[in-house]
């Protein structure tokens, strides 16, 4: 006689909802026109600037050292990208509030997992893209330009510095998006918050780290001339503030109606 067959209970993978949101949002971000616009504009600006400087050096003999040029480039990339990154991140959750969020948040996922999935997806896409673009720019500068002053350590620190500021921008965008009811309100709030805070910090005495001063100092960092303590304070400060902002966004989102 056959033994009675028992149907095993389905084993739920509790991290799967987080992965699902993360993967879905990464695909969605990569397909969005704002992301493509950001990549195209940044790459066009970087390649154009590199070629212009290369041409000026070849034809007219005008030499700008690679650290100066890369410092300018990274600063412009940051200032130019911030607005697009704000637009890209400030609609992360508020843009889906209502009908589409209903069809996700009514399933077996907690608000924390949803927020973390969205936040990490945007961070991953934007930072990965930035690292690729920074590598291309640094590589181009090494190959095409007068690069004897450029140091590997300085380049890595400069990229880490800019990346930490981008983490803050992305985190502020996603967190305010989680607390706001409309994308336009989110964009306005994030823009005011970031530019306002950046401006206020630039008014502080010189020994305080500020994004503005850090970006102005990038050429020196690329040359390897940097105050490690100051740089560490800035990077750890940006990451700590990002964590706090994300925590506030996540807790606030978990208490809101959607």
């Amino acid at each position: 006689m056959d033994a009675p067959t028992t149907i095993p209970a389905v084993k739920i993978n509790r991290f799967l909802p987080y992965w699902a949101v993360l993967q879905s949002d990464m695909r969605q971000t990569l397909r969005s026109w704002i992301y493509r616009l950001w990549v195209l504009m940044t790459l066009a600006a970087a390649v154009g600037y590199l070629l212009f400087r290369f041409g000026a050096r070849q034809v007219a003999g005008m030499v700008q050292s690679a650290p100066e040029m890369l410092g300018d480039l990274l600063t412009w990339v940051i200032w130019g990208s911030v607005t697009l990154i704000i637009v890209l991140t400030a609609g992360t959750i508020s843009g889906e509030r209502g009908i589409i969020a209903d069809s996700v948040l009514s399933r077996g996922i907690s608000r924390y997992q949803y927020f973390l999935g969205k936040w990490h997806a945007r961070l991953f896409v934007i930072l990965s893209t930035f690292f690729v673009m920074a590598t291309v720019s640094l590589g181009g500068a090494y190959v095409l330009l007068h690069s004897e002053h450029l140091t590997i350590l300085g380049s890595l620190v400069a990229v880490a510095l800019v990346a930490s500021l981008l983490v803050l921008v992305v985190t502020a965008g996603v967190s305010i998006s989680a607390l706001s009811t409309s994308t336009m309100v989110s964009i306005t709030l994030v823009w005011l918050l970031l530019y306002g805070t950046g401006f206020l910090m630039s008014l502080l005495p010189a020994h305080y780290p500020s994004p503005d001063r850090a970006l102005h100092n990038l050429p020196n960092v690329l040359k390897g001339l940097f105050d490690l303590e100051m740089v560490s304070r800035l990077i750890s400060g940006a990451l700590s503030v990002s964590l706090l902002v994300a925590l506030a966004g996540m807790i606030g989102f978990a208490r809101r109606d959607v």
Binding site: P17, I99, D102, S106, R107, G108, I109, S110, A254, D257
Partner: protein, 334 residues
């Protein structure tokens, strides 16, 4: 009756939702839903039906009171409870660029279902809702009927114990509506359902319990039979055929009877309104005798209005007519 509250599928107590201190969407709703119930949620637009459903799903937080699902308090982070619920929102919408296969896979992953469980299940569901031929097409171009079928598949992917369907027949053609009602009847044998609908005949057909909301207040909660029992029973329409003079003679005789408040003839339709305290069977028997005596043919007899619809309208009308008295009798919903 479930004695223990942990045996209940849904239990709410003084559930109240006020949006930003501006709009009272739900007011003091207390109800208990036992396993196997098929609850029809009735109410006009803005009565609070969707708010109640969203509170049951943890998409909204109550301003006061609580709602428990399977004996545990529902909240925004109660993912474990939502794993036992299948939900269809009103006008379900889907992310762009996804196909039924990728979307169902996404929803199944949101429930934490591992690949060896979700893949066969989503394939079966796609076949069951008849989307096999378009399973690789983008959802963007789907018709209302196909969208509704996909929403049904999504709500069943986790094999839920409780189904919450918000206007599932909305926008469907008669064939789609019939299929949906048949599906609800089939599911009702095994699961607990909450179905919100404007279409009272749908509720009448598939539900065994009803909850009626009026301006956020629960004015009735109980069995559908009881609700129908509250309907006006004193209006009837009789379709007649035969000689016009004989029909007129019948009309005059019936008008002379004391059992009726009003008697009127429109074309060949006799409309009768009985007095409140009259014996309906004997009054109607007298009318039938008169019709037969005058050699008039009786084609059909029906009570006025659809049963559930009439009961619903009566309830809302009664609630409205109570005026300020509502402030003193807030616990008589059932």
């Amino acid at each position: 009756m479930a004695e223990n509250s942990s045996d209940l599928v849904v239990e709410s107590y003084k559930l109240t939702k006020i949006y930003q201190n501006r709009q009272i969407a739900l007011n003091d709703v207390t109800l208990r839903l036992e396993p196997g119930c098929v609850l029809g949620l009735l109410g006009h637009n803005g009565a609070g039906k969707t708010t109640l459903l969203r509170l049951c799903l943890g998409l909204h937080r109550p301003t006061a009171g609580w709602v428990k699902i399977f004996g545990q308090t529902m909240g925004p982070n109660a993912a474990g409870l939502r794993r036992r619920i299948g939900y269809i929102p009103t006008n379900p919408q889907f992310p762009r660029g996804m196909t039924p296969i990728t979307y169902l896979d996404y929803i199944a992953r949101l429930f934490g279902l591992p690949a060896e469980v979700r893949k066969p299940r989503l394939a079966s569901l796609i076949r069951a809702v008849n989307l096999l031929s378009v399973s690789g097409d983008p959802i963007d171009g789907f018709s209302n009927g196909m969208t509704a079928r996909l929403a049904v598949a999504c709500s069943l992917i986790n094999e839920p114990d409780l189904l919450i369907w918000d206007e599932p027949t909305h926008g469907l053609d008669p064939e789609g509506r019939r299929s949906m009602l048949d599906l609800i009847k089939t599911l009702a044998r095994q699961k607990t359902l909450i179905v919100s609908s404007h279409n009272l005949s749908d509720i009448d057909e598939v539900c065994n319990h009803a909850a009626v909301l009026s301006r956020g207040h629960l004015i009735y909660f109980g069995s559908l039979q009881d609700l129908k029992g509250r309907m006006r029973k004193n209006q009837y329409e009789l379709d007649l055929d035969g000689d016009q003079k004989a029909i007129t003679r019948t009309l005059n005789i019936v008008k002379g009877m004391n059992d009726f408040k009003s008697v009127s003839l429109r074309q060949r339709r006799l409309e009768l309104r009985l007095n409140d305290d009259v014996n309906i069977a004997s009054a109607l028997a007298n009318v039938f005798m008169t019709i037969a005596d005058n050699k008039v043919t009786l084609i059909s007899v029906r009570s006025m209005g659809q049963a559930t619809e009439q009961a619903f309208l009566d309830l809302v009308e009664k609630e409205e007519s109570r005026g300020f008295a509502r402030a003193y009798q807030v616990n008589d919903a059932a």
